[in-house]
């Protein structure tokens, strides 16, 4: 019996088991400290829905051998440009949301293309280069947000100021456009049906893609480049393609996030956005070279569960806000753990 | 074996250094009172203003009946108290005193000016 349990734990991986048990204990303690479990669960689901696409965006690059996408900020920037332009054009509702996506995608493709070429030049050190390329791009765009000629009064600094505001509300445009679509509300429990449907669609497309010939070629390029090349796969082209797909999905992901969160955050806000997404993916069982849909779902749920439950439960327990510190420790601990796993030799 | 002895010796030296730095650098609170006080059945009155220098610090003016606080680090201190007499002349008293690390000192100026002992009272923490 003990052997069976041990085997199960090893298969799931110790980090997942520990975090999972921690999360369960938080759910159990919740009612005793005055937190409504239904609110907690629906909060977790809403946050899951907000973040899932961003975590999903990491899969193509992991599969193609480009490693963890610490440069996700490039996709986020494309999404931000789409969101801002959509508001500037004044389009509201689902049309506004789709306009944002429509504008974001070409930018994402462009940025992803050059980003992919860069990563091909630095094979073996993609992650560290990606990190600082991501940081620099956020700093660069911070300068741009001040200079770009947007005029909509909802977005610019008041009293004749110049440049875009730091936080721009999407209320009146496309706030909750996905969340509230066909949503279910039972007392204190809220289920964002629209967003979940949207996420499932994207997940389905990605899953289906990897089952196609092109998708398998991409996975082959990542798991064994030499063999893939011998089999006729253009490894470099697969890698660039994976980067473009990842960047596009990240652009869509930030838009899904914003419609739920309610605000567009510019300037330095996206600086560290890649890390929670990477941590969530790794928490779900992925490694630096292999990631699946299951990793995304399990990981995002566990991660967002911790982030939702810790403030409410622990704050009532020890009367102080430990959530930020716990988030830093858990997410970065996960990434360090994953980076120190033995990597199989890639030539 | 030799390596371990050296390591232990090094640690002892560092701890000793730490203690030394602590003693040398610990800031002490020194209260300077220009107040009336009764000591060993002798009444001392506060009458004049004093200019007080503790170690290398700037002058502190302590008026009649007042108390001032000065901070100074280390175990050894010197106090220079210049009493300003009503006729315009001054009287100067110099004394040295030492404090253990966790002590706070209270100096009474009238007693100091009289030349008697007991002008320094030390409170350990």
């Amino acid at each position: 019996m003990l052997e069976k349990v041990k085997k199960l734990i090893e298969k799931a991986g110790w980090p997942r088991v520990i975090i999972g048990l921690f999360l369960l204990s938080l759910f159990f303690t919740a009612p005793f400290v005055g937190i409504r479990v239904s609110t907690s669960i629906s909060d977790t689901i809403v946050r899951f829905a907000m973040n899932a696409v961003l975590v999903l965006s990491l899969i193509p690059m992991v599969q193609s051998g480009c490693g963890l996408n610490f440069g996700m900020q490039l996709g986020v920037i494309a999404g931000l440009i789409g969101a801002i332009t959509s508001i500037e054009l004044g389009v509201t509702g689902i049309a506004g949301f789709l306009t944002a996506i429509g504008i974001a995608i070409p930018f994402a493709v462009l940025l992803g293309f050059f980003y992919g070429l860069l990563l091909n030049m630095v094979k073996g050190d993609e992650m560290v280069v990606a990190t600082y390329v991501g940081f620099s791009s956020v700093a660069f765009m911070s300068m741009m947000w001040l200079l770009l000629p947007f005029k909509s009064p909802n977005m610019i600094w008041g009293y004749g100021g110049e440049g875009l505001r730091t936080t721009i509300s999407v209320e009146g445009y496309w706030l909750g456009v996905l969340n509230n679509f066909l949503s279910i509300r039972i007392g204190h429990f809220f289920f964002p049906t629209g967003t979940i449907i949207f996420i499932s669609l994207i997940a389905l497309v990605v899953w289906a893609f990897f089952k196609t010939k092109l998708g398998t070629a991409m996975t082959a390029a990542g798991s064994n480049p030499v063999y893939a090349r011998a089999a006729g796969v253009n490894v470099n082209r697969m890698r660039v393609l994976s980067v473009v797909i990842s960047t596009v999905i990240a652009a869509i992901g930030i838009l899904v996030y914003e419609q739920s969160f309610g605000f567009i955050q510019l300037y330095m806000a996206p600086l560290l956005m890649a890390f929670p997404a990477v941590a969530a993916l790794l928490l779900g069982g992925a490694s630096v070279s292999k990631a699946s849909m299951g990793n995304v779902i399990v990981g995002t749920f566990l991660f967002q569960g911790i982030l939702t439950m810790t403030p409410s439960v622990m704050n009532n327990l020890i009367k102080s806000d430990m959530s930020e510190v716990i988030r830093i420790i858990v997410s970065n601990g996960m990434i360090v753990y994953a980076l120190t796993r033995r990597m199989k030799v890639r030539t | 074996m030799k390596r371990n002895i050296i390591r232990v010796a090094l640690i002892i030296v560092l701890i000793a250094l730490g203690v030394g730095l602590y003693v040398l650098g610990r800031n002490h609170k020194i209260f300077i009172d220009n107040k009336d006080i009764v000591l060993a059945n002798v009444q001392y009155r506060s009458e004049n203003t004093f200019s007080v220098f503790i170690d290398g610090n700037e002058a502190v003016e302590v008026g009649k009946g007042k108390r001032k606080v000065v901070y100074s680090p280390g175990p050894w201190h010197t106090i220079i108290a210049i009493e300003k007499l009503p006729d315009g002349t001054t009287r100067e008293i110099i004394r040295k005193f030492s404090l253990a690390s966790r002590d706070t000192a209270i100096i009474n100026l009238p007693v100091l000016a009289s030349g008697n002992d007991g002008w320094l009272s030390i409170e350990g923490e």
């Binding site: 030049m121 992650m127 911070s142 300068m143 110049e162 990434i335 360090v336 | 730095l21």
Partner: protein
């Protein structure tokens, strides 16, 4: 394919320009930006001298890991946190002046050694990915540090001073003033030339550190580190304990960073308990790279040239941005962009060069095998 690297150009002037491209670029940038900003030369010289005194120790602490092949040690932030903890105890025990600074260093050192040991062990398990791992490890330990400072101090760790603790009784306040040790090292021995004051005492200490670093590279341990940095396989066959040498390089770097952060903070005069150490890694590394260093090679001149160029850009950018584009804020973002950008470019260049070298080696090996086989068949 062109194998001739540009650094092997014939003309020595071209060679100099190529291998020192980054510093030269910054000098050109500053030639335009400084007059634009309108700062007086006295002000700039004083500022740079202060910043040299303040930051040199931290940037020098990066040199040894580069020598040992560990790349850019983003983990110096661990040393900075150790230094801050030393300062917290120093403040709690009310030790002031130079003895206080020395005591803070004394207390911070064992913490820095432990953290360096942890970092070194983890980095050894992530060979080939040291730099990313050190970045994330820095974030992780920052989390542990915040946990300790926010909850441990005052409760499990005996800190008693009300000036340090939050009103609730445990947890350190987020801004601690260091008036009791403010500029004690700067003021140890000051020389004034006209309007410019030079903290000779501090510079003497920095010079001593440089001498130490040079001496260290000549010791057996230093040579071992060089060997490991060149080629881990060859060093291992020569009998060097590669893992232990690498870990030692990180420990030394972390301890130096601990001292460096204390020197930095005594000049600033305040500790932002939760933020002061945030950008330590980025700014020190950016400065070193701007001085012409690379991931594989960093020398003492790189340190000083880098600090001067980096900090001049830092000071001048906001005002220059205001003159040029009407908003000082652009200048502020520009200097952040420069810091991150220079690191991104250096990392990319290094990674690209490393890949090109690997491929040339592989091709050469293939050609050698082919030639050997043809010999065998022919002869």
């Amino acid at each position: 394919m062109k194998e001739q690297s540009l650094t092997r150009a014939k003309n020595p002037l071209v060679r100099f320009a190529i291998s020192n491209a980054v510093p030269i670029l910054f000098v050109v940038l500053l030639i335009f930006a400084i007059p634009l900003s309108g700062f007086s030369s006295d002000y700039l010289i004083n500022e740079i001298i202060t910043r040299l005194g303040r930051n040199s120790f931290l940037v020098i602490s990066l040199l040894i890991p580069v020598m040992a092949g560990m790349g850019l040690n983003f983990g110096i932030v661990l040393g900075a946190m150790a230094g801050q903890m030393g300062l917290i105890f120093m403040l709690d025990w009310e030790v002031v002046g130079i003895p206080g600074v020395l005591l803070a260093m004394l207390i911070g050192t064992p913490i820095a050694i432990l953290l360096g040991l942890l970092a070194g062990t983890i980095l050894n398990r992530a060979k080939g990915r040291e730099m990313v791992t050190s970045i994330i490890l820095g974030f992780f330990i920052n989390g542990v540090y915040q946990l300790t400072i926010l909850y441990g101090m005052g409760s499990l760790i005996p800190i008693t001073s009300n000036k340090l603790l939050l009103p609730r009784g445990y947890g350190v306040r987020n801004a601690l003033d260091l008036l009791t040790i403010r500029k004690v090292m700067d003021n140890m021995w000051v020389m004034k030339i006209g309007n410019i004051s030079i903290p000779l005492g501090l510079f003497a200490i920095i010079a001593a550190l440089c001498v130490f670093v040079v001496w260290f590279t000549r010791t057996k341990l230093g040579q071992d580190m060089r060997a490991v940095g060149q080629d881990m396989q060859v060093a291992a066959t020569a009998g060097i304990n590669v893992d232990r040498t690498r870990t030692l390089s990180i420990i030394i770097s972390t301890v130096l960073a601990c001292f460096g952060q204390i020197i930095f903070l005594q000049n600033i005069g305040t500790i932002n308990t939760y933020n002061s150490h945030d950008q330590v890694g980025t700014f020190a590394i950016a400065a070193l790279l701007i001085g012409g260093a690379s991931v594989a090679k960093a020398t003492i001149p790189n340190v000083f040239i880098g600090i001067i160029l980096f900090h001049l850009t830092f000071i001048v950018a906001p005002r220059a941005g205001k003159e040029l584009l009407g908003q000082a804020q652009i200048g502020e973002f520009f200097r952040v962009f420069v810091s991150y950008g220079i690191i991104a470019i250096s990392l990319a260049l290094y990674a690209w060069r490393r890949r090109v070298e690997k491929e040339t080696e592989r091709r050469r090996a293939k050609a050698a095998i082919k030639a050997a086989m043809e010999d065998k068949v022919g002869g």
